[in-house]
Amino acid sequence: MPSPLLEVAGLSKRFGGFVALDGIDLAVAEGERVGLIGPNGSGKSTLVNCICGTLVNETGTVRFNGETVDRLLTHERTRRGIARSFQLPRPFTTLTVAGNLRVPLLYTVNARPGHALSPTELDARCAELLELVGLADKATHLPRDLTQVEMRKLELARAMAAEPKLLIADESMAGLSHSEVDDIVGLLIRLNERGITIILIEHIMRAVMKFSQRIIVLVSGKKIADGAPDTVIRDSEVERAYIGQ
């Protein structure tokens, strides 16, 4: 296997006396679709926050694209190619839908070395992204006018606008209907086909099974399984954590 895109080694994070993450090791190869599951409070979001730099891990390292990113701030990691969507959508409420996408274009894409987008290219890129997620007719609306599913799409589109190498979608389908879930899974698979590595954090097993090529299971801050979806869900330890014995 060539060196992985994302490599987490021995990562631990504690909040006071509570150990949220305990020596996590994982690797994600370029172009992979990985599902990250675990019961509530198992440390999934904390792991995402440590990978993205929102939280600082006490021990262990995060390597991305061959570079140790532990000391980098969140926006620096975003510029290197790690993008995320938030569990609860966090749109920029005073900016329009198109304005929300403009932010990562201006601050991430244009901040990278090379060609900076001109104003017309910016507009075109916003329109293209909105088209991709199906929000083209809402471009001039404020986020408060959007429905839940549209809000989640905006969240994904904003993460996508940063042209990431790795996209981490944190529970982007919670509370959505059956068909809306299919909608988002389809969107994520389309993005993956464009060459983006995706880590999907999700409780909806149907979506996880449909999406993932590999599943990683966290339980109380420890990784207890990592492998092909079919094997992982038959694993007795995973069963115990989810269903109880």
């Binding site: 993205c52 730099g53 929102t54 701030l73 969140t74 926006h75 975003t78 510029r79 993008a83 995320r84 938030f86 966090r90 749109p91 920029f92 409420t93 005073t94 900016l95 304005g99 403009r102 932010v103 990562p104 201006l106 601050y107 991430t108 244009n110 901040a111 904003r158 993460a159 606008a161 940063a162």
Partner: protein, 314 residues
Amino acid sequence: MRTPVFFLISIAVAAVVFFAARLVSNDYVFFAGYTVLQFVVLATAWNILGGYTGYVNFGSAAFFALGAYATVFLHKLYPLPIPLLIVTGGIVSGVVGFGMGYLTLRLRGAFFAIATLALAVVLQTLVVNWDYVGGSRGAYIIRPNEIALVGPYIQYLFLLMLALTVFALTIARGIERSQLGYGFATIRDDELAAEASGVPTLRLKLIATTLSGALMGMAGAPFPYYIGYLQPSSAFGLEYAVNSIAMPMIGGTTSWVGPLIGAILLGSLQQIATVTISSAVNLLIVGLLLVAFVIIAPNGIVGLVQGWTRGRAK
């Protein structure tokens, strides 16, 4: 409209204002107008930090006073022309703004506001105990009666403040339409999401505190020449802190027009109240209006107007 065009138009408007004021053959117009303009600059400066990035600064008076005391200090060393003093006042307050930003910007909301208030108290204590600039006694600045080209000195001060107003408004409007404006808005809306979108929030906040502080200092620099006798309690006056918050809030904080409208409206009202009722009524008016606006129109006059036009469009 592009920024250079806006700049030229506002210069034209400023010229009209100046010559219209000259038509009134009464210097009081300039005295009152200077104060109103000074509040336009202060309100605009406050809004760059408080309105655009959402960090409420209660210490405006400190930055204003720093500009004023920089002038007193330099005046004692060697009298310089006022435009130069404005620049130095801006630099001094800008540096302090940067320092304040660096020390406090990991604080949010009420904690940041309290820290700025503390800064004002600390600086006032320092100035009160600094004999060279007059200490608690205050300092006199004798200004000439006349100045070449313009005529009466108060008209010259008015003209300078007018220029500063144009400068501040152009900067504020330029920020709004630039990449910086987008970055500031994301800080106001959601800092975590801003970082995740690649916005270097800490750096942008430092830019905002520096710019905002510098403009306040610039507004304060000519003040000793205007007032003639500067004492700590007048430079650090409550009215500066309160007005520079209230004016943008009443006008509307999301655009450069808000502080302009708010400052002209409140500033003029205060001037009228000072002459007709008493100078003590000033802050009462501000307080009442602020309460009314926070309840009835939380987005200020600009927000009200936008609400109406949007309602009609639908």
